[in-house]
Amino acid sequence: MTAWGRCFHAVVIAVSAVGAVSLVGAPRAADATGPALLTQYCGACHADGGDEGGVALDTLLASRPKAGAVPDEAIRARWIAVWKNLRAETMPPADELQPSAAERRQLVDFVSRDMLGVVPSRPDPGHVVLRRLNRVEYANTVRDLTGIEDNVRDELPIDDTGYGFDTIGSVLAVSPLLIEKYLAIASRVGGRIGDEAVRAKAGDGKQHYPARLRRLFPHGPPPDAEGERGEHLRRTVERLAARGFRRPVDDETLSRLVAVAESAQALPGGSFEKGIATAVTTVLASPRFLFRFEEEAVALAPATPGAVFIDEYALASRLSYFLWSTMPDDELFRLAREGSLRRELPHQIDRMIHDRRSDAFVQHFVGQWLKTRDVESLPLDVRTILGLSDRKAGEQIFSRPVRHAMRKETELLFAHVLRQGLPATALLTTRQTFLNEPLARFYGIPGVAGNEMRLVEIPPDTSRGGILTHGSFLVVTSNPTRTSPVKRGLFILENLLGTPPPPAPPNVPAIEDTASVLGKHATMRDVMERHRRDALCASCHARMDPLGLALEQYNAAGQWRTDSAAATIDTAGRLVTGESFADVRELSELIAGKRRLDFYRCLTEKMLTYGIGRGLEYFDGPAVNTIVHQVERDKRLTTIVTGVIASVPFQMRRAVAAATPPAPPHQPAGKATP
């Protein structure tokens, strides 16, 4: 076996050990239920002469390619559209007969497997549009590269989001304003470094760099011998550039950077430190710093002609931005340099998850998945919600510390379940949570003193336990003055079960249309049931409303209602899949039990989207399925994380067709790489 072959072998073993890349798997025989279901649910508009929107499914089915043949591009595009509409549940339209969840899954699988030829043995990793660092990643990377703490995040415009996350390459736009900001921050940070490093020399005439700047001056002050200074400068710049660009720097770029440093050094009042500071400014403004360029692994055979493994530097960056929202640390760089990162992956993932830097993953992934980011900023009229007479009292009860603790509660629980290797479903059913005194008092849980958030066993007689009873979830799904069972139900469908209902038809007013007709003594349930009599609304609201109503005993600020009317709230309901529940605890257990595969799939899709930086496509089915099966075996939340990292879209990328290959990286002899 050649060296390359051995290496590839090692990778496959390493990757399989973590779990998700399976390069084996034969296409299943085409099944007959797919076409039957398509005809049943879509045929009225899209078959037998019907071709609404230019889609005639019977014609498309008849043009089904032979096994192994490449289907016609136009037909493919149609099928991709069919797949998207089925998956997003935008088809069939809300006012038509809907397939069951299981049938929908069958349909989606049928289209991707049989009509689009997606099989695990021919992986398509898709294309992630060149990602610029979002403002969180940018701020963290500036901090970790330079050691300078500077609140740069708030200077940058808010990033746009796509697919629910702010890590999506195609959506992270670049505008002149942003470039202006980048350049301004780069020169300010560089200036501070120059000032601090120069100041550190003043005392005894010897150079002692402040501890936090030592990463920029790893080879110490310039040597006394003049002839060695050039080489010393070059090595210092090379180390900076390699860390800043997160991969070895090519000779040409390095020489230009050294020239920048030299000319700053030669200016009146210049110095070695000022030269390095100018190089820092330049690196921070470079596209190689601001964007995440990825190269393919030259030492690894492509998985298939269209799919190549990314190189280990790219992998190190994907890992560190996924789990830490920042650049790789020295250990990841070392492993990438040695070419052993893939081999060490399980250990590295473990190390990274248990490192406090993974708080960033929790904060930003959970912050967007469960919207905990919003709990501190959403406008809430607590006076109205709690029926108080003055606003001040409301703000004291639902204070800033309470809001902050709500966010922390959900984040800390997720981190706990992740780091302790607990089942993913513990997020829903645990009888533990994280509280401090303000939040415990807000919830009415006794015996928690002090502002420190700590792990608490929830008393048995308390109506808390699992994220559905967290203040964060209850608040972010409310309107400013009242609960919204529809929003709560929708949230559960979208973010926990992964079966969002079709969007409301345009020009249909919100659900509570009937409130005024029924008078002010009508309960929320009365109002909603009346609304559901409208057939157009009924099909979707039958899915959302019972879920939201199960939570009606919590008010819009997330407190358990104690008024007399609350005692009569009927929280019983039924999932659209048929299972019934009496209250929120049974609902949580249902999602964690009979519907757990839906939950695993939903969470997997969210995390994969966040991690790879693009929306999921029809060809991602095998990657998602692999992870779901894996989690079903060992139940753990960490398995989803490792599964995402080991997946085809995380480990590979599409081969860039017909493009000039990038210059081979400059590999200096064993040193000065990141």
Binding site: G53, V129, L130, E155, P157, I158, D160, T161, G162, G169, V171, A173, V174, S175, P176, L177, I179, E180, L183, A184, A186, S187, T282, A285, S286, P287, R288, L290, F291, F293, Q363, Q368, W369, K371, T372, R373, D374, E376, S377, P379, L380, D381, H404, R407, P480, T481, E494, N495, P503, A504, P505, P506, N507, P509, A510, E512, A515, S516, A659, T660
Partner: protein, 456 residues
């Protein structure tokens, strides 16, 4: 740590204190004395007073009955929620009968709020996507900026009061980019707005006080100059070997560099002199104060001829902001689905009035500034104040609420209610404005022709 602005420092300056600091009672110097010396190098066009254009976006439509003026032509009365504009009645036109057909559902289904924002200045139909292949159209302000932005230090200014955004999915399968941006440099490149008045000020004039400010600005320019060569070359180097979609990202970066290069090479390092200004570190929590501070920045940018083009989202469409300042605790979006309930409609009217008051403030500032020809800055401006929806309850994209203030140097016929006999695309108004701006186009978005009715 926090993604939100929840930890604002206490005791930030009140707006009044800030205005005192600025010396609002002191007569503001005329434009000419503000002009940076570098302006002398700019074309002869700047000898005559330039025309400015601004677009202020109000979200979620309005209470149409309270908004609509009575009467027609110059014999008209403002609707009740526009009463705060009474003293500007002779400086503005209310236009009824404009529509954004690209905002309607069409074959795209739900998502009217995303479309309301996205079509507002583009007149184009946004492609329904949650992320990939975002596509709508270039916006009218950016078209103008491309044509005349060269004359000023900044081609355009983008502002917004949305300091935080709700997480997760945006409207019905549309990427949040559609809902949170109204300025589009190209069909797929939104221009993100700034929200912090202090940062806007420092960007325009430098950080610090007095002469420090000019020095800080000059230092920034010098730094930009020295970095540009390296990063330009670097960007071209990495561009090779990229897939097409990636190349487009990098081209956005290069376009940004070129814009800075233009600023650096065409204008002197020193910013125009403006009075010192104390501004809070973070946007103020009160919505009215936030709008007014950003409004001040817009006026200052026009006054100093730092730019002639601005867009300002008072809030994005679909915004569920509440208005404790005026005793409306409910969310705006939630209220906008009023279902003809009297109480909800009344609250919407209160919000409409609130926004009109802030608009009146901005107009007042524009009218205070006298230009070298003795006319006011408002006289030389055209300021559109409008929403992408009319009745929020039914997501109507026709009969839009539109006010155009200012005379564009005497070329707009102010003091009237322009009641169009038949519906016209909003982009007809924009096409006319582009004409007045010296950036004529034969068509724009879904335009069908010029809106001569607004001209003198």
């Amino acid at each position: 740590m926090s993604e939100t602005d929840s930890h604002r420092p206490r005791g930030i300056l009140s707006r009044r204190a800030v205005l005192r600091g600025l010396g609002a009672t002191v007569a503001l110097p005329a434009l000419e004395s503000f002009r940076p010396t570098g302006m002398a190098r700019v074309s002869a066009a700047s000898v005559t007073t330039p025309t400015r254009m601004a677009f202020l976006y109000i979200p979620n439509g309005v209470n149409v009955d309270c908004w609509r003026p009575r009467g027609n032509g110059s014999d008209f009365e403002l609707g009740s929620t526009l009463e705060p504009l009474a003293s500007f009645k002779a400086d503005l036109q209310v236009i009824t009968g404009l529509a954004h057909q690209c905002g309607t559902a069409g074959a795209d289904g739900a998502g009217d709020h995303a479309r309301a924002s996205a079509t507002f200045l583009t007149g184009a139909r946004p492609k329904k996507t949650a992320g990939d292949d975002i596509h709508v159209g270039i916006s009218v302000d950016q078209l103008a900026a491309a044509a005349v932005g060269n004359a000023t230090r900044f081609a355009s200014l983008e502002l917004s009061c949305d300091t935080s955004r709700t997480s997760g999915h945006c409207d019905s399968g549309y990427s949040c980019a559609y809902q949170h941006n109204i300025a589009w440099r190209s069909a797929n490149q939104p221009v993100a707005p700034e929200t912090n008045p202090r940062l806007v000020f420092e960007r325009l004039f430098g950080a610090g006080q007095g002469t420090d400010r000019a020095a800080s600005f000059a230092a920034r320019r010098a730094a930009q100059k020295s970095i540009l060569d390296f990063v330009m070359a670097d960007a071209k180097g990495v561009r090779r070997g990229l897939a097409a979609a990636d190349r487009r990202k990098l081209d956005e970066y290069l376009a940004g560099l070129r814009e800075i290069e233009r600023q650096v090479t065409r204008f002197d390092a020193l910013p125009p002199k403006v009075p010192d200004r104390e501004l809070p570190d973070r946007p103020p929590p009160a919505h009215s104060e936030h709008i007014r501070l950003l409004g001040d920045m817009l006026v200052l940018a026009f006054q100093t001829d730092s730019t002639r083009i601005a867009t300002f989202m008072l809030a994005h469409d679909g915004s569920n902001r509440s208005f404790p300042e005026i005793g409306v605790g409910d969310g705006h979006h939630e209220l906008s689905h009023h279902r003809q309930i009297k109480e909800s409609l009344e609250k919407i009217a209160l919000i409409d009035r609130f926004y009109a008051e802030q608009f009146a403030y901005v107009l007042g500032r524009l009218r205070e500034v006298k230009e070298s020809d003795g006319q006011s800055l408002l006289d030389h401006s055209m300021v559109v104040y409008a929403s992408g929806l009319s009745d929020g309850n039914r997501h109507r994209h026709d009969d839009l609420p539109v006010v155009v203030a200012g005379r564009a140097g005497g070329r707009l016929a102010v003091g009237r209610h322009v009641k169009l006999p038949s519906e016209q695309p909003m982009t007809n108004l924009y096409l006319t404005m582009l004409d007045l701006m010296g950036a004529p186009q034969t068509s724009f978005g879904d335009s069908t022709g010029l809106l001569d009715a607004v001209r003198t």
